[in-house]
Structure formats: C-alpha cells, structure tokens
C-alpha cells in the first residue's frame, strides 16, 4: 500500500491547483485544458491519453477546492468514458484535442436519476433513425457541439450522437444555481444516419452505466475538494471572528462541530479514493462497480450536507452573503450532493448490489 503521488500525478495536482487559484474558468479556457493535457486523462495512449480514475480524482478534487466552474465533468469524464467504452476513437480524438465537445442527455422528466427509464424513441426508417422525446437537465448543453442521446430502439436502449444544431432538436439552456448551466432538450423527429449510433445496437444502458459510474466518482472527488476547503475556511474564520471578547473558535460546541466536520471530510476522502480504486480494478464488473461507486456517493452526500450546513452555520450571517466565498461552496455542494443521483438513489443501488458482495474482503485487494 502506498498513498504517495507519482511524479506525473503530482504534476496534474499542481497544474490544476495553479489554474484553480487563478481566475475561474468559463468556456474560453477550453483550449488551455487541451494544452495542459487534462482532456486526455483516461484516453488511450494512441490519442496521447494517460491516467485513469485516480488522475481524474486528483484533478476533480482540485477543481472542488478552487470552485472551478467547468463542463469537465460532463464533457470529458461522462462523454469521454462513454466514447472510449464504445471504441469511438474517431470522436474521442476530437474531444482530446478540444475541437468537438460532447454532452450526454439521459435524464427524462420522470426518470429521477435512473438512466434505464427511457421514453424517448428512435425509430428505424431506411438507413436512418428518427428520434422523438424529451430530455431534461442535460449538463453543459449550451457549449456542446454534439449531444449523445439515449433512446429506446424497440426493447433495448441505444445511444445516438446528434449535432447540437440538428433539425427538429430544440435546446432550452438555463443557468443553474451553482453558476453552471444545463438544458432541456426536445426531439421532435430528429433524423440521423445509422452511423450516428454510439456503441452497438442495444448497448446504451451498459455504456451509460459505465460512464455514469466514472462521472459519479469524479463528482465525489469534486465534493471532497469542496468540503475540505469549507472546513479550512471555517476553522480560519472562527479563529478570527471575535464574540464576547474571544475568538468564537474557543467555544467548545463549535470546536466539536469542527471536529465532526473533520471526521466527515476524512471519511469522504476515503470513499472518493475507494470509488476511484473500484473503477480501476473492477472495470468490467458492473455490480462491483455500482457497489463501490454508489457507496462513495452515499457517503459524500451525507458528509457534504453536514459539512456544508455546518460551514454556513459557523460563519453566521456572513456565510449567507453572496460576497463571501463559503456560500458559493455550499451552493455547489448542495448540487453535487444530488447530481447524478442523491443519497437515497445510490443507497437503493448499493442495496441492489448486495447479493453478490463478498462479506469478508478477499485476498486480492484492499477493502
């Protein structure tokens, strides 16, 4: 066992931290992301790719600490994993170069986090497919050049890459509370060639499952960074803030609350690592993957709620002010807690994976 970073991992950490400490990134920084190699994490060697879930963790934790607003999660981790699993190096190449930008549209009005609840249909018509349906909460849709959509092709679900400007595709983008953006998509008979299919016919849910597990693990890492920073800010603030003639950090009740925040951050850190490890080692076992990743999301959601609410409470009024940073971290944490499935959803998924679990750790790996 060895938790020290390799030189390459240190390089990612430092470069992301440097970036995050500077001005925060909107769209215009994408070429810089490509240049720094961040778009190549997890891509195959042939495309100049390197690293995997641990490197994504390192990057996303720093994004969290720096409250970087970026479509990285959706356009690189989620879409990138999907394209790689579908063996679409052609498209992945343009993603790594920063030329094309993909997002994934899988949620529907009543699907409540579950990617298998798909009402959108893709009907074969000669060489092409015609898609009809509605997708909601599509992350970072406004900056995507291509939207990968899940649709029912008979009994199975398949994926299709639609150009963002396709005919009969209506996108309503909106800003979200955390400074990100999302969009609702209507497909009123969008016609695409059969070659637009991503992966095999009927492979949609298994590809989505894998990509969502990677994105969820990455989101856990971002949550970890947010929490760690909120704890540090709270400790610092309570040491400065004077009330009744003493720093409020001298009140035992606040000390214990901060100790509990520390415990939650450390448990969250462990689970973020565990999720990354699971993706590394159990890549091909969807049950083990769901178990590890969903356990991590449950922990991050629970810890994040406690740490975020405590940070606001201990800051008092100033935590509620738009001018002070901790409120923004709290807002993003509130979203991260629920994005890609909240604690209840992932607890259900974890329970569903129970039967196949090994109760006592096998000799092969830790935990």
């Amino acid at each position: 066992m060895d938790f020290t970073l390799t030189p390459e991992q240190l390089l990612i950490k430092d470069s992301v931290a440097r970036y995050a400490a500077g001005e925060h990134a909107g769209t215009e920084k994408w070429p810089q992301f490509a240049e720094l190699g961040w778009l190549a994490i997890g891509a195959p060697d042939e495309l100049g790719g390197f690293g995997g879930p641990l490197e994504t963790l390192i990057l996303m934790e720093q994004f969290g600490r720096g409250l970087v607003v970026s479509p990285y999660l959706s356009q690189v981790v989620l879409a990138g994993t999907l394209l790689r699993a579908a063996k679409r190096d052609d498209l992945l190449g343009s993603l790594v170069e920063g030329e094309a930008r993909y997002t994934v549209a899988y949620e529907e009005p009543h699907s409540r986090y579950d990617p298998s609840l798909v009402a959108t249909t893709a009907v074969r018509d000669g060489d092409s497919y015609v898609l009809r349906g509605a997708k909601v909460r599509v992350l970072d849709a406004a900056t995507a050049t291509t939207i990968i959509v899940s649709a029912r092709t008979g009994d199975e679900v398949s994926l299709f890459a639609l150009p963002a400007g396709a005919e009969n595709l209506e996108l309503v983008p909106y800003a979200t509370e955390d400074g990100h953006d999302a969009g609702d998509v209507r497909l009123d008979g969008v016609r695409v060639d059969g070659s637009a299919m991503i992966g095999e016919f009927g492979e949609g849910l298994s590809l989505l499952g894998l990509a969502l597990d990677h994105a969820t693990a990455a989101l856990c890492a971002e949550g970890l960074g947010l929490m760690a920073l909120m704890l540090e800010a709270t400790v610092q603030y309570t040491k400065q803030r004077q009330q009744f003639g003493v720093p409020i950090s001298s009140f035992q009740v606040l000390q214990h609350r901060m100790a509990e925040m520390f415990i939650e951050v450390e448990l969250a850190r462990s689970m973020a690592f565990l999720a990354a490890m699971t993706l590394d080692e159990q890549h091909d076992d969807p049950v083990a993957r769901a178990r590890g990743v969903s356990a991590a999301k449950v922990q991050i959601a629970k810890s994040g709620r406690f740490v975020g609410q405590s940070a606001i409470q201990l800051h008092g009024g100033i935590g509620m002010s738009e001018e002070y940073k901790v409120g923004h971290y709290f807002k993003r944490m509130t979203i991260v807690e629920r994005l890609l499935g909240d604690a209840d959803y992932h607890l259900g998924r974890y329970l569903a994976s129970q039967d196949t679990k090994a109760k006592i750790p096998a000799n092969a790996t830790v935990a």
Binding site: H110, T176, G317, S321, E322, G327, G348
Partner: protein, 378 residues
C-alpha cells in the same frame, strides 16, 4: 384538563378565516403561495386592510389601537394568516419599536410615532446587528456623541457614526431604531442608548447585501456623522440595553411558525402529487418531519395555555425557535431532495435562504445556551 379550543375560540377562528378569504387581495395571496418576494406596496395594501378592520396591532393596548385578545386568540389569528396565505406584516414598527415606545417613551414620542406606525404611513427597520457584533449584540461599536447642532439652531443632537448590518427592509424604511454607544467609558452593556433615526437624514446610506439565494432583502446601513435630535432618544441615556432585552423577549410570538410549516408541507405534498413522485424513503422522511411538527405545535399550545393562565413567556420559547427553524429547514431540504437539484428553479434558493433561520434572531447555539442556563440552571 381541557385540551380542546373553546366555542368562542372556534368562532373567532371562523371569523378570521372568513376575513382573510374575502379581504386579502388575490395577487398578494398568489405571491405568498408561490413563495415570491413581496414589494413594499403589497405590505402597505394589506396593512391598510387590517388597519381598517382594527386588527393591525394585536399586541398593543386597546386604547392605542390594539385588541384585547387572549394569547390563544393571537395564536389562532396568525395561524390563520398562514393557512390563508396572508403575509405577516413587517414587525419592525408594529411589534418591535412600538412596544418600546409604549413602555419607555414619553408622551411626545408616543404621539409622534405610534399613529403613523399604526396607520402604515411610516415604515421602520431595525438597527441592531453590526459587522463585529452578531450573537454578541452588546459588543456594538456604533457611537452617538451629544453636542450642539452644526446649523446654529443651538439644539442638542447626537452625532451618530457606525455601520449596521443584516437589516431587512431598510431600502423601504422611513425610520430606523439603532442601539448606539453614548458612553464609551462605560462597561460593555452599559452606556448604550436607544435612538430613533430618520432614514432621510444626511449621512445615512443603504447598501443592499446580496444573499446566496439571490435575494436582496437585507442591507447594510452606514451612518456617517448623522445628526439626530436629542429628543429622538427613547428612555434614559445609557439604558438602551434594558430596552433591547425587553424587545427581544417581546419578539417571541409565532417564532415557531407552525402554520407556515404546515403550509409548506402541504405545498410539498401537492408538488409530489403533480410530479407523480411516490418514493417510500422520501415519504418516510416527510412523515417524520410531520410528526415532529405535530409535537412542536402541541408544545406551542402548552406554552400558550401557560401564558393564558398568567405565566410570562419564558425561556421555553427557545424550544420553539430551535425546533421551528430546524423543521423549516428540513422541509425545504426535502423539497429539494424530492425533485433534484435542477428541477424546480425556486427550490434551491428557498433551501439556501432558510439556512439563515438557525442563525438569526439569536442563533440556535445561543438558544441552547439559554435553555442550559435559564431552564436547566447548569
């Protein structure tokens, strides 16, 4: 023991319910129901309607325009506000500065200020908190120095300097009541005076503070060499802390906001129905909150019964503050849980906004200190 409302109390409830149903302007009702922000004119119109009915100041003595309601009636009155989606009037004039003026002001002050508070002609805001003084209210540093006015009138004025923060409705207010230090040499809680400041005085600046829910309801108020006539001081110089404490205890009524929570839960149930969400885990969490709310509602009634029996409202009200705000926060959290982060646009701001309730009006930590010290006597 008789744990039910009396016939008279039930008749009173019907009367209030009927009044709100017929008299509250429909546009205001809709705003409240939707959780939208109200503007000054909304408050003003509703104030006038209540004023006409004689119900604008239940807490005041009857001879000044109050009502002679029992604590239980007052409770029923405000419960019906919530059930009828009627807005509560802003408390700063009616329920905060007015009781202080009634109790500690002189006749001239009573004659000058009370009628315009009662009629709604003048709006007030509260100048207590300062950037450096939150829960530790008495550590305030705003100063008021007595001297002759600069305009050669020869009259005495306080020159007030300081910053007040977290001030709701300052942007609409005609007047602000401030706590200011008139004797810098005195010990912490002494040397503070209670002073009424005209918001149009030169040197008063209002700056909105944007909150994380996107709201702009609260403000910072800067007081720079503001001249205030000495007759605007209420009561004795240096006794302001006593009046402030009186006011804080007077503020109690309705802290728990039970009826408001019931309405929020109702809205949540409607939302779930509309969106066809029937999730067992969520339903259980909602049920748990409902049960706690029932427990708190009955606790409030027990407190009221004790008040009706002649006991002063005591530190028990800290329970209502703590649990009431916890339940409000829990409901806003459940609503967000129900629909997800990006679903209904107003749910996240509401959740963010409600985080303030456990901080303001004496943080919940301070309330627990009060229970420990004044009830458990540890």
């Amino acid at each position: 023991m008789d744990l039910a409302f009396s016939t008279q109390e039930r008749a009173f409830r019907d009367e209030v319910r009927e009044f709100i149903a017929t008299q509250l302007p429909e546009d205001i009702r809709r705003k409240v129901q939707a959780g939208d922000h109200l503007v000054k004119d909304d408050y003003f119109r509703w104030h006038r309607i209540l004023h006409e009915r004689g119900w604008v100041a239940p807490g005041w003595p009857v001879e000044l325009g109050g009502t002679d309601w029992t604590p239980v009636q007052r409770h029923i009155f405000y419960e019906e506000f919530a059930y009828g989606w009627a807005p509560r009037l802003l408390p700063f004039g009616l329920n905060m500065v007015a009781p202080v003026i009634i109790e500690f002001g002189n006749d001239a002050q009573r004659a000058r200020y009370l009628p315009k508070i009662h009629s709604g002609e003048e709006f007030w805001c509260q100048g207590y908190s300062e950037p450096g003084a939150g829960s530790d209210l008495a550590s305030l540093s705003t100063r008021a120095v007595l001297r002759q006015a600069q305009d050669d009138s020869g009259r005495d004025v306080y020159v007030v300097n300081g910053t007040k923060t977290w001030i709701t409705a300052a942007q609409w207010a005609d007047w602000i009541f401030v706590l200011a230090r008139t004797d810098p040499a005195a010990k912490k809680q002494e040397g503070i005076s209670f002073i009424l400041v005209d918001m149009r005085s030169p040197g008063v600046t209002v700056r909105p503070i944007e909150t994380i829910d996107g709201g702009k309801e609260i403000n910072e108020v800067y007081l720079e060499n503001v001249e205030v006539p000495v007759e605007n001081r209420v009561g004795d110089e240096g006794a302001g802390w006593t009046y402030a404490k009186f006011l804080l205890e007077h503020e109690r009524t309705g802290t728990a906001g039970i009826a408001g929570c019931r309405q929020q839960l109702e809205t949540l149930h409607e939302l779930l129905e509309r969106e066809s969400i029937d999730d067992q885990r969520l339903n259980e969490k909602i049920a748990q909150v409902e049960i706690e709310l029932e427990a708190l509602a009955f606790t409030e009634l027990r407190t009221l019964a004790a008040e009706s029996a002649g006991k002063r409202p005591g530190p028990e009200s800290s329970i209502l503050k703590i649990k009431g705000t916890e339940i409000q926060q829990a409901i806003s959290e459940l609503a967000l849980d129900a629909l997800g982060p990006y679903a209904e646009r107003h749910l996240a701001p509401k959740y963010f906004n409600y985080r303030k309730t456990s901080i303001y009006a004496g943080s919940n930590e301070i309330q627990k200190n009060i229970i420990a010290k004044r009830i458990l006597k540890v």
